[in-house]
Chain length 696, copies 2
């Protein structure tokens, strides 16, 4: 649980998202709209009316989640002199309230804690959807988040009103009670909506200005208008909390290439079914969210670290999408604002989170990469960068991202994705013990090992372990890595330090995996390749500077933190021999510790201005998800390389996300290390690498 | 066919819309985006790339249908210094091209006519969907429009390239060939798309900048980017025209309250099916559009009048929506930017158009008003203002618009809608000869007559024919008319001149209808009421001023043109006795002619500044749809009231729609009579009343 804060600078959106619905109810940024977004690349733009007033004569006090909406009244009346509503409310300032972000909750308190509003994103272990019983599936896959709004009026002498409302501007909502008498709330067609339970203390509001309605129909609404709300009354002397359910529903096929619908559409008839289910199971969802909150709160991590884990998890869920294709689950994580489907260099980072909560997602994604998104070039097998974009599955063997004849962004990532399949597959199999799957993928693993070696050199005699053969797919260009938008220090794949250490991790895992499969000669060969590669790496160390160069070409002298990223896999799996500073890679470890010690200095890989961790000494573009991995590896394997400045940077990283530079797009990944402004990868799932810290 | 124009001021959007799909491909406004819009209240915001270049070295010359799009390249690369594409094109100015709007086509020509681009909205008589065979239904209900792009390069010495493209900015499109090899084009998911036939001369383009693509994948595209296009090559010495099909598809339930899907979803599996059908039936659609174009072109109307009819028809189709509910058609016309469902005071105006092209739509709408949207107040039967809003059908007996305790906009329209049912029903039955339907609605007609009389006065002895009893539904307010947003001259229903003459029309029709039903005493009674009402009206004429007051209360002295609107129904049905200036209503006709002659003067009901027709002398808010009816009635029944200024106003009305004040939202209805700026009712279907002129 992050600390309650009354900082006037704190201002950030959070995605409150169901599991697998590619949907978010986004809010939290100060003086900004948000609300229900389906399959969007950023926050929705709905005005949210959330607050309270001390009796009908008082002013409404609302959380600052709206911008003055353009009234549509004038469009009807032809009178453009109408003052823009809503009027008559005070917008709470950040100093007027506290906000507490938990792992599965986000809670605002004001009026000395008497007013409370919370949104819950309950998440937990999700069993394999292919095998889940209907009741369990309805619970785990319901496209909803829950919440509550409350007031403690026990010392009050007049009734207090609470409002929770949504204004959709150009669109309209409809009262849900017309189709579902058990629901009090509003919906946008059948697409999204919010509801509480019907009750004497709950009234519906709809109009051009729900705070000061001028036009009321027979039931006190005006359904042609876009602004809606629930007004709940708390009598004097009482404390009341009203449950909220926020639901989504996207019917019919939503993807092309592979034509598929949301898995939940098999379980829920429509939005009304979703919302009614949410109210019925409200307590169970609440308990699940509370359990997650407790787990995070009880760790020894700092408040900044807890905040980062909580914020990252929220955005991960917002990008998650569980489809149903030809009778089977089809798992997708969308790449945040880019919405690329199962980008493989994100899959390998989500791995650790997914193995804890839904390991079948890793397995299914690996299978789809083999079945549809693998290819062979002149060196052998590899995999595409992604499976498509924006719910469009690209043709077999082709990604949406990779272009030909490029030297930077948009080139191919053949080496990187080959490593990613190996690392995900071995980690999945070792972590879950899924021998059946492993045996079924024996041939693929062997082909990967062969392909890796040939990308070192086609002639076995000339191999040194380093990947340095570009795929023919690049044409006149060169292969890149996931760090495409950084400078050449991380962007170029060939002879790349980051990728070489990642390859080392892959060989270490292959050694174990082949042994598990009883392929002992192959296991020994993998071990030999790992040792060869490690030895080669030690020759690249610059004794004079105490650094590794980022690229073993052209006198590159960038310094990079992902030099140790490749160790996260053996570390995660507890492979002590490969992660012991005094073990088989001791010479390399000693060099890497020197490299890290010197890198984690202001002006090198700690930003001179902010103190935040930088992926590369020569780029101010740094990525939080990768910082999180680097922190985990450094703290776990190279603790001596840390210094006070490096340790203090969690606060810097948290403040980047807590302020509008990143916070206006919820969790962001690509950040300018000096200013803390996001420069790409907004609304992004990859930050869940921070969950690795829970293992420290 | 409106005249080809090279006016630099001409700039207007047109909705290119299928029948019944509530969808438009909107374009034409200068320097503005447009494109595919589904169920929108205004134009979409896509950039359109439509133009040509004389060989690969020349600059592209594009129609001015785009604003510089924000490139997403920077979001991927983190590099915000990238110049915003597209670059390297010349935006054609209105003086560089001609535009010709036909009844079912919209054609641009440039380069001395060598370049041509056209969009067709083929429409015609649509048989009753409840009875249409599948093949006919696929033809009539296909959610598509067609078009073509061409270049006459017969005198050229190098190949010319043509481009037709769409940029969706924040979203992405996908190449259609992946799922449908017979289609060359792009689609947004399964929702909309465009295609031509595959061919050697047609290439696909997709990227951040389709005119200058930097990043090309294995097939020369970049599917993560939002800008797409077809580039067609016309070799030197040839003239080539490339067919285009623009399609929509909205799967699953789209409405609530009455849960229904688009009728076409029963006939087409998906968007690909729609587009392939469009290419297959291309010639037939083209012939249908050409037939409509010819019909309008051959009339004796002026070019301005033809333009108004063409523009109005396009926007009517854009608001049309044919749903399928429980095995039956469910007809909807959406109210333009307000999207209210089957607003009854629009239905009564669409009547004349719909009786020509799809009379079943009138019948089905009347039936649904009886079945679900009728109610009884203290005086008897009436009908709601509308059936809901934005695909939400309101509960039985309730509209989305009407509120209680109001004196102006948003009050109830009980008298008006009662008259509208009578007028629509009698006109439908008389025009179509549908006796079965008429007999089935005998009781409703009798109840309407009874309700009308009681709204005059509950005591028969005190009746004078005028409607003056407000419904109890208004509460502390007062009933209004369809002219809600004008001043009291037309807004107040009680003792209203417009509504009284409309009631006269209703009684004239009831007299005939009851006779047809063999209800002779009722027919005689209707005749007597008509005569009573006509006599009463003559007593309201101000001999001293030569005018009728607009409201027979409170010394109102507004002068209104809708004084004669009620005569359009007997005029349409050819009821000579009621429309003969020397006939049974001769004294009233003489007074109305004086009223009109004096009204059609600058500063009264011709705007002092613009010369346009004004509904009321005391309001600058005037409505084109109602001007068109008034013009038709005046020209047909009161020709002596016309003068040169009044006759010349067609040019004024056309210029309003042809320039951005209205044109930025396609056909607009509520217009400031001085400035020609729309002040409401944008993107609006009601202007099809202008089709009455085709009868003159």
């Amino acid at each position: 649980m992050s600390r309650p804060s009354a900082s006037s600078e704190e201002s950030y959106h959070v995605q409150h998202s169901p599991f697998g619905a590619f949907a978010s109810f986004t809010c939290g940024l100060v003086d900004a709209p948000g609300g229900f977004g389906q399959s969007l690349r950023g926050p929705a733009k709905q005005n949210l009316y959330i607050g309270y007033r001390n009796g009908p004569a008082a002013s409404w006090r609302l959380l600052p989640f709206l911008t003055p909406p353009k009234s549509q009244e004038g469009a009807f009346t032809g009178d453009t002199t109408v003052v823009q509503p809503p009027r008559g409310f005070d917008s709470l300032r950040p100093t007027d309230y506290t906000r507490t972000l938990g792992w599965a909750s986000d809670t605002w308190r004001a009026e000395g804690g008497r007013f409370g509003f919370s949104l819950l994103s309950p998440f937990g272990e999700v069993p394999d959807p292919a095998k889940m019983k209907r009741a369990a599936a309805r619970f785990h896959l319901a496209p909803l988040v829950t919440g509550w709004i409350e007031y403690d009026n026990r010392t009050g002498s007049s009734p207090v009103e609470l409002v929770f409302g949504v204004g959709v501007g150009d669109d309209t909502l409809r009262p849900l009670g017309d189709t579902a008498p058990g629901l009090t709330g509003f919906a946008a067609g059948g697409r999204f909506g919010y509801a509480t339970k019907p009750g004497r203390n709950v009234a519906l509001k709809q109009g051009f200005d729900i705070l000061n309605p001028k036009f009321l129909d027979h039931r006190g609404l005006h359904v042609i208008a876009g602004e809606t709300g629930l007004v709940c009354t708390v009598p004097a002397g009482q404390r009341k909390r009203f449950p909220l359910v926020l639901g989504f529903y996207a019917a019919g096929p939503v993807s092309t290439g592979l034509t598929a619908s949301f898995a939940y559409t098999r379980l829920f008839a429509d939005l009304e079914d979703v919302l009614a289910h949410g109210l019925k199971e409200y307590r169970r969802y609440e308990r699940l969210a509370a359990q997650r909150d407790r787990e995070l709160a009880r760790t020894k991590l700092s408040d900044d670290q807890k905040f980062l884990i909580a914020q990252a998890t929220h955005s991960y869920l917002g990008s998650s999408e569980l489809l149903w294709h030809k009778g089977k689950p089809l798992w997708v994580v969308n790449e945040g604002e880019y919405r690329m489907i199962n980008t493989f260099d994100l899959t390998v980072d989500h791995l650790f989170f997914e193995l804890q909560w839904q390991p079948w997602a890793v397995r299914d994604t690996l299978d789809l990469f083999v079945r549809r998104y693998s290819y062979r070039d002149q060196h052998g097998l590899s995999f595409t960068h992604d499976m498509g974009v924006n719910d469009f599955f690209t043709p077999p063997g082709r990604s949406s991202y990779e272009c030909d004849n490029q030297h930077g962004c948009f080139s191919h990532m053949t080496m990187e994705q080959l490593l990613n399949w190996v690392l995900c597959a071995c980690t999945y199999a070792a972590h879950t013990g899924d021998r059946t799957w492993l045996r079924a993928n024996r041939k693929t693993l062997l082909a990967c090992a062969d392909s890796l070696r040939r990308r070192d050199h086609p002639d076995p005699a000339q191999r040194d372990g380093l990947l340095k053969q570009d795929s023919a797919r690049v044409g006149e260009g060169a292969e890149i890595t996931t760090y495409d938008s950084l400078d050449v220090s991380l962007g170029q794949a060939r002879n790349n330090l980051y990728l070489s250490v990642k390859a080392l991790g892959a060989w270490v895992l292959l050694e174990r995996t082949f042994a598990t499969l009883g392929l002992h000669p192959e296991s020994a060969a993998a071990r030999a390749t790992a040792d060869l590669l490690a030895r080669t790496l030690t020759t690249k160390f610059e004794e004079n500077t105490g650094f590794f160069p980022a690229v073993f070409e052209k006198n590159n002298c960038s310094r990079i933190l992902p030099a140790v990223e490749g160790f996260v896999y053996p570390l995660f799996l507890g492979y002590r021999d490969a992660t012991d500073a005094a073990g088989r890679f001791a010479p390399l470890f000693a060099q890497l510790e020197r490299h890290l010690s010197q890198s984690l200095q202001r002006g090198i890989c700690l930003d001179a201005t902010s103190g935040g961790w930088k992926m590369s000494s020569t780029s101010t573009n740094t990525w939080f998800s990768k910082i999180a991995i680097a922190q985990h590896v450094v703290r776990s394997l190279f603790p001596a390389a840390l210094n006070d400045s490096a340790r203090a940077a969690d606060r810097v990283h948290a403040n980047w996300q807590r302020t509008p530079g990143c916070g206006k797009d919820a969790m962001c990944d690509q950040i300018r290390s000096d200013s803390g402004e996001a420069c790409g990868s907004r609304y992004y799932p990859r930050g869940v690498t921070a969950c690795l810290w829970l293992r420290e």
